[in-house]
């Protein structure tokens, strides 16, 4: 038995939902329902199960009904038809009072725009759920402080939400949900409003917390990368319908229709790393006017056997090896500029496979130059190999 079991759930917005429901069940399209009945179908025959202790991600674009679906689970939105069971109990059978008690003890919810109370401090916000549960005050403060510590906000208790950055505000939102020690965490696009770096950080934080607590998490997102990173299993929604449920493998390898395939292709495309993603700055560079002794000095200082040569405009000239420098110093006939050698260089857009071929029998880093022949960076062999190895996980 799953922790949450949703069966044939419908949500229809409009004045005559039952009539519209009949139409949908008799095979009318959503457009027909909208035209004839002026009703919008939010969730269309959704069924899924969430196992105890798993992160279940519902993914879809905006307007796909995923936010409506998650709100049906705790009846913030009243479903039109269907069944929702949590621990075997029928949620739709609860009266108002039972529903409130059920929400209190079962759920913690995190919102896209944080939904923090602006007139309350961070600590008071984190206490909100416990306050509703009528937990005694000392206990309330203790537990909210623990929750704030867990999300890394100790020391911020007395600030107001508006004084915090978006990422920190969502940490408060997370702490508020964790403070009530819920069986199930409902997360409605919690990280969508954050910038990419903070988003990544929050995802890691969530995974850490999840490792510690092993709660059941129902997570909504429009970002397949996020879904793949967090979800044990993923449901993909489109126009109110769940069109595929599966783990990473299923989603990435057996896309059931074009819609999913498009999503997945998008992901794979973004996973194709190019030279510019993995290149690093050269530790030291040589300039043509540098003499052989300067070159030797730079090489010794940086423990390098070779150096790339550029002019003042960073235009790429070539590479100089330490043996040749020594030759120049010992032999007055040789000119410093004569020993600049040419090696293969890479384009910033080259992909890993090509880079691998280029770098395979090269004993020095691979220079990356742009169309104007400017040196952008260098690629070290180990970097290519490491990235190739991790990419292999995704598309065997």
């Amino acid at each position: 038995m799953g922790k949450i079991e949703v069966r044939n759930l419908y949500k229809i917005f409009g004045n005559q939902p039952q009539k519209a429901l009949g139409m949908i069940k008799n095979g009318s399209t959503k457009q027909e329902v909208l035209n004839k009945n002026n009703s919008t179908v939010g969730v269309d025959d959704a069924s899924f199960e969430v196992e105890e202790g798993e992160i279940f991600v519902i993914m879809g674009l905006s307007g796909s009904g995923k936010s409506t679906l998650i709100r049906c689970v705790n009846r913030l939105i009243e479903p039109t038809a269907g069944s929702i069971k949590v621990d075997g109990q029928e949620v739709l059978g609860f009266d108002k009072k039972e529903l409130r008690e059920f929400r209190e003890k079962e759920f913690g919810m995190v919102f896209q725009n944080f939904a923090l109370l602006p007139h309350r401090t961070v600590l008071e916000n984190a206490m909100f759920g416990l306050e509703i549960q009528k937990v005694e005050k000392q206990q309330r403060i203790k537990r909210s402080k623990e929750a704030l510590n867990a999300v890394g906000l100790d020391g911020w208790e007395d600030q107001y939400p508006e004084q915090l950055s978006g990422g920190m505000q969502q940490r408060v939102g997370l702490a508020r949900a964790l403070a009530v020690d819920p069986e199930i965490l409902l997360m409605d696009e919690p990280f969508s409003a954050l910038d990419p770096l903070i988003k990544k950080e929050m995802q890691n934080k969530l995974l850490d917390l999840y490792e510690e607590m092993k709660r059941t998490i129902l997570f909504i997102t429009h970002d397949l990368d996020e879904a793949l990173k967090l979800g044990d299993r993923i449901a993909i929604m489109k126009e109110g319908k769940i069109i595929q449920i599966g783990d990473h493998e299923d989603i990435l390898t057996n896309a059931t229709n074009d819609y999913v395939e498009n999503f997945v292709e998008d992901v794979n495309r973004s996973r194709v790393l190019t030279a510019k993603d993995i290149m690093t700055q050269a530790i030291a560079l040589l300039y043509p006017q540098d003499g052989p002794r300067t070159a030797l000095h730079k090489m010794k200082n940086n423990e390098l056997g070779s150096l790339f040569v550029v002019n003042r405009n960073k235009e790429y000239k070539g590479i100089i090896y330490i043996e040749d420098v020594v030759d120049v110093i010992n032999n007055d006939d040789l000119k410093f500029t004569d020993i600049i050698k040419d090696i293969t260089n890479a384009d910033p857009e080259d992909n890993l496979k090509k880079l691998f071929a280029d770098i395979a029998d090269l004993n020095v880093p691979l220079p990356v130059t742009n169309d104007d022949n400017k040196l952008l960076g260098v690629i070290v062999k180990t970097n290519v190999l490491a990235n190739l190895a991790s990419e292999g996980k995704f598309d065997q």
Partner: protein, 280 residues
């Protein structure tokens, strides 16, 4: 097509709205004199007690208290202004009318808020109440106050009580409207968060909606005070005491000096209250 004689018929048979209102007022007076008298009693009691409380202090002590209060609420500049303003009223020998006016205004505002804020809250939660109250509020805000002086007079007789009632009717719309507006403007996601954590309607109201609506409600209170003050002279026409009385008298005897002095008293008390209890 409407014939000419039909149009003259339309005009000749005037709809007796005036008669209906008269009938309604008489009906209320005849059948609800008990509750009306009780209500009048409460208001009279409030005005008298507020006045007694205010005149308990020597005027100079009173001014000092207000000045300190102004300092605490805002800053020392306002405190100086309050001291000078009220001192001027005292010097002009308008102190007793000032206290009477203050007492009736406090009563009016308290009554208006006790009735208005809950109506605003209900209005924000019930579409039906919202639809019903909307035209009533429009009516109350646009009808000239002189019009309801007459029924107030009939219900409660000549005196301060009628003045207070008329003032309440005039000043109650802003607290209702701004409470309603403030609650409406609270983010839906916040209320949703409240529900998600199992809050009941009372907890949502007290912990989310009212705190969120507070700035708007405070504005409503401020507006209510200001509108009450603007009724001072009109209320005097149905026998309310205070600063309105000398203004009215000066109007009758064309006494420019007296009128200006009393008028200045109203202005000063209005500015003092606005600066002290308003938001800048």
């Amino acid at each position: 097509m409407i014939k000419v004689n039909n149009i003259s018929q339309l005009i000749s048979t005037k709809i007796p709205i005036g008669n209906w209102v008269e009938f309604l007022v008489n009906f209320l007076i005849n059948n609800f004199s008990g509750p009306l008298e009780g209500f009048a009693g409460i208001i009279e009691w409030m005005v008298n007690n507020f006045e007694a409380l205010l005149s308990y202090f020597h005027p100079l002590v009173f001014i000092l208290i207000f000045a300190i209060l102004a300092w605490g609420l805002k800053n020392y500049k306002l405190s100086i202004f309050v001291a000078l303003g009220l001192g001027l009223v005292f010097n002009l020998q308008m102190w007793d009318p000032l206290l009477t006016t203050l007492a009736s205004i406090i009563t009016s505002v308290v009554v208006a808020l006790i009735i208005g804020i809950p109506i605003g809250i209900i209005k924000a939660h019930s579409k039906i109440i919202d639809l019903i109250t909307r035209p009533i509020l429009d009516f109350m805000q646009t009808i000239p106050p002189f019009v309801y002086l007459i029924p107030a007079l009939m219900f409660f007789g000549l005196g301060t009580v009628s003045g207070v009632i008329a003032t309440v009717v005039f000043a109650i719309a802003p607290p209702i409207r701004l409470t309603y507006l403030g609650i409406q403007q609270v983010d839906d996601e916040l209320k949703e968060a409240g529900h998600a954590f199992g809050a009941n309607w009372w907890e949502i109201l007290m912990k989310i909606e009212l705190p969120g609506a507070m700035p708007s409600i405070m504005m409503g209170i401020n507006q209510c005070i200001m509108l009450s003050l603007s009724m001072v002279v009109i209320a005097a026409m149905i026998g309310a005491g205070g600063l309105g009385k000398p203004v009215l008298r000066s109007l009758n005897v064309v006494d420019i000096g007296l009128g200006f002095e009393a008028g200045l008293g109203v202005v000063i008390i209005a500015m003092v209250l606005d600066r002290m209890f308003g938001r800048e």
